[in-house]
């Protein structure tokens, strides 16, 4: 079976996004270099390469932390969705900065000796059995490897061919990378730079990533909705805003997004075929259910993307019982046409 994939293609918004990302990166590095030179005591200076090693190292960590908080922030407030839209570019940029950091370290600290620099990277500090003396470089190498895999498979081509489930699982590895980077810093730079600001910054970043992750999960978690005879209660039809959805969670299977379009009620899977975005937080735009994350669209009537696209999601039967909306807990096969139920009979 061949998978067609659908690129979230280049568009003015992405260009603007990347413009800001590059601007932020340059601003950070230039400010870091200037501030380092300006704040060292008279007659003392770091070598240029070591300033860049530190600038890229700290920047990569800050960017990685930022990438990890965008998701939860977007769940808590829709204002952050524009950042989510192009998060992968930020992820790839983070990998590139981390790679520059690693390349400079290998050149400067491990080059020019009698050992191969890559051997030196793992062998020059043999204290794998001690905590404070631990060769923290190896943790950085592991994290960089994971980030490389993420960056290399970040394109939608991989997403389509691995399937969103496996792809998402793979990209959860970024949390492992984050943990490794935190250890890399704690056992490395923090053993030398003792200013309390560094410890505080590291702790704040860890708390922000972990805490927001937690808050994001809480914000999007609702109790499982009980089913009676295979039908789940959605609530008063009149309470669903036109063009939006209510998310219902059956005890088993994917969450369901129940949309209102005028007087019609449609139900589809809440899980976007692209990167598992929450469709129920999306809107009906031009007659199509539109994902809040990257704007993939599905026809309400059959859960299929309009041509030329071919993505399909499950549809669900709905019914109205005394003004209350109910949805079947049993999905139809993805792409199955399903007639809507009507809140009020047509006049």
């Amino acid at each position: 079976m061949t998978h067609g994939y659908r690129a979230v293609s280049w568009m003015p918004f992405k260009k603007r996004y990347d413009f800001w990302v590059v601007g932020g990166i340059l601003t950070y590095i230039v400010s870091f270099v200037i501030a380092t030179i300006a704040t060292q005591p008279d007659g003392e200076s770091l070598t240029e390469l070591q300033i860049l090693i530190r600038a890229t190292g700290t920047l990569a960590f800050l960017m990685l932390s930022f990438v990890l908080v965008i998701g939860p922030l977007a769940r808590i407030t829709p204002r952050f969705r524009p950042l989510l839209f192009n998060r992968r570019h930020l992820g790839v940029a983070t990998f590139v900065i981390a790679l520059v950091h690693a390349a400079l370290v290998i050149l400067w600290y491990h080059g020019f000796g009698t050992l191969n620099p890559f051997v030196s990277l793992f062998a020059s500090n043999p204290n794998y059995d001690a905590l404070a003396g631990f060769p923290f470089e190896s943790l950085g190498v592991l994290a960089l490897t994971i980030m490389f895999l993420m960056a290399a498979t970040s394109h939608d081509f991989w997403n389509a061919n691995l399937g969103p489930g496996l792809w998402k699982a793979l990209h959860m590895g970024v949390y492992l990378a984050f943990a490794l980077v935190v250890a890399h810093i704690a056992l490395g730079a923090l053993q030398f730079e003792k200013h309390v600001a560094y410890t505080v910054l590291l702790i704040v970043a860890v708390l922000a990533v972990v805490g927001l992750q937690f808050a994001g999960v809480l914000a999007s978690r609702r109790p499982v909705d009980a089913a009676a005879d295979g039908w789940l209660s959605v609530g008063e039809g009149a309470e669903i805003d036109d063009g939006t959805a209510v998310i219902v969670r059956p005890a088993e299977g994917e969450a369901i997004a129940v949309f209102r379009h005028g007087e019609e009620i449609y139900a589809v899977s809440n899980v976007c075929r692209h990167q598992a975005g929450p469709l129920g937080e999306g809107r009906i735009v031009d007659g199509c259910i539109t994902c809040p994350w990257h704007g993939f669209q599905y026809r309400m009537a059959d859960g299929t993307s309009p041509p030329p696209y071919t993505e399909k999601i499950a549809t669900y039967a709905t019914r109205i019982v005394e003004g209350r909306v109910e949805v079947s807990a049993m999905p139809n096969a993805p792409g199955t046409p399903q007639a809507p139920s009507r809140l009020r009979s047509a006049p």
């Binding site: 590095i29 400010s31 524009p82 030398f192």
Partner: protein
């Protein structure tokens, strides 16, 4: 929220998002500059080391091979000073010294200096050393080390070249792998000792009066305590220890 307020990446951006995006962008730049400045300003001072890589000079004096290649010369600041000799990269010059030890020579290299510690990174190629044309001041001959006694010191083992100024900073955990690579490659190891009143001293390390081998590598850049015999040779302090006396603290 109406359809107009709903952000879709491929569509015209809603005004509210556009405003937010612009503010976020501006905030990002200001934040990046602020955090960078703060992080950079919190770095500790790296010390007064310098290495003028681009300036090669001729240093006239008497050279020795033991315990490490060193030159006694007046060409650093007019005083009789001892400079450790190293290569341009991470290596020692032991093998390149051949039969020159003990002779009056002219050495071509660039100066690495940290307060009164000096090292000369000698030029690549055979032209780095030649015998002096005229006899030199006999005061430049190497004095016999004068023993100062047995002592236990706390501090850090580092490589002299980096700490003198080749790398800034050239000590501590982050520099650990580099320091052990340097020592492994033939750069003289040194002990940076600090007492309770923050008086610091740098001692060049030897084992049984000779050069240290790889036995030291496991302890480089860790906080350690060593016990050994200190002696003074001109303006260089020497610390003779055996690798087993090095203890991590």
């Amino acid at each position: 929220m109406s359809k107009k307020d709903f952000f879709i990446g491929w569509a015209e951006m809603p005004d509210a998002d556009r405003r937010f995006f612009l503010k976020a962008g501006a905030g990002l730049l200001i934040g990046a500059a602020g955090v960078a400045g703060f992080v950079a300003a919190s770095q500790r001072p790296v010390g007064r080391g310098t290495w003028d890589l681009a300036t090669f000079k001729a240093f006239t004096g008497i050279v020795t091979a033991s315990p490490y290649p060193m030159l006694r010369t007046r060409d650093i600041d007019g005083q009789v000073r001892t400079a450790l000799l190293v290569c341009q990269t991470k290596c020692g010059v032991d093998l390149r010294l051949q039969n020159m030890a003990g002779k009056a020579v002219v050495i071509n290299g660039s100066l690495i200096q940290r307060v009164d510690h000096a090292s000369i990174a000698v030029a690549d190629g055979p032209e780095w050393i030649r015998e002096a044309d005229a006899p030199v001041d006999p005061a430049l001959a190497f004095p016999t080390p004068e023993p100062l006694g047995e002592i236990t010191l706390a501090g850090e083992i580092l490589d002299s070249k980096c700490w003198f100024g080749a790398m800034r900073p050239g000590e501590g955990k982050v520099h650990k792998a580099c320091a052990s690579l340097c020592i492994r490659s033939g750069i003289p190891p040194a002990f940076f000792a600090r007492d309770a009143r923050d008086n610091a001293a740098l001692l060049v390390m030897t084992e049984n009066g000779g050069r240290f081998g790889e036995s030291l590598l496991a302890h480089v850049a860790d906080p350690v305590e060593v016990t050994g015999a200190v002696s003074r040779a001109g303006n260089v302090l020497l610390l003779d220890v055996s690798a087993d006396s090095v203890r991590r603290v």
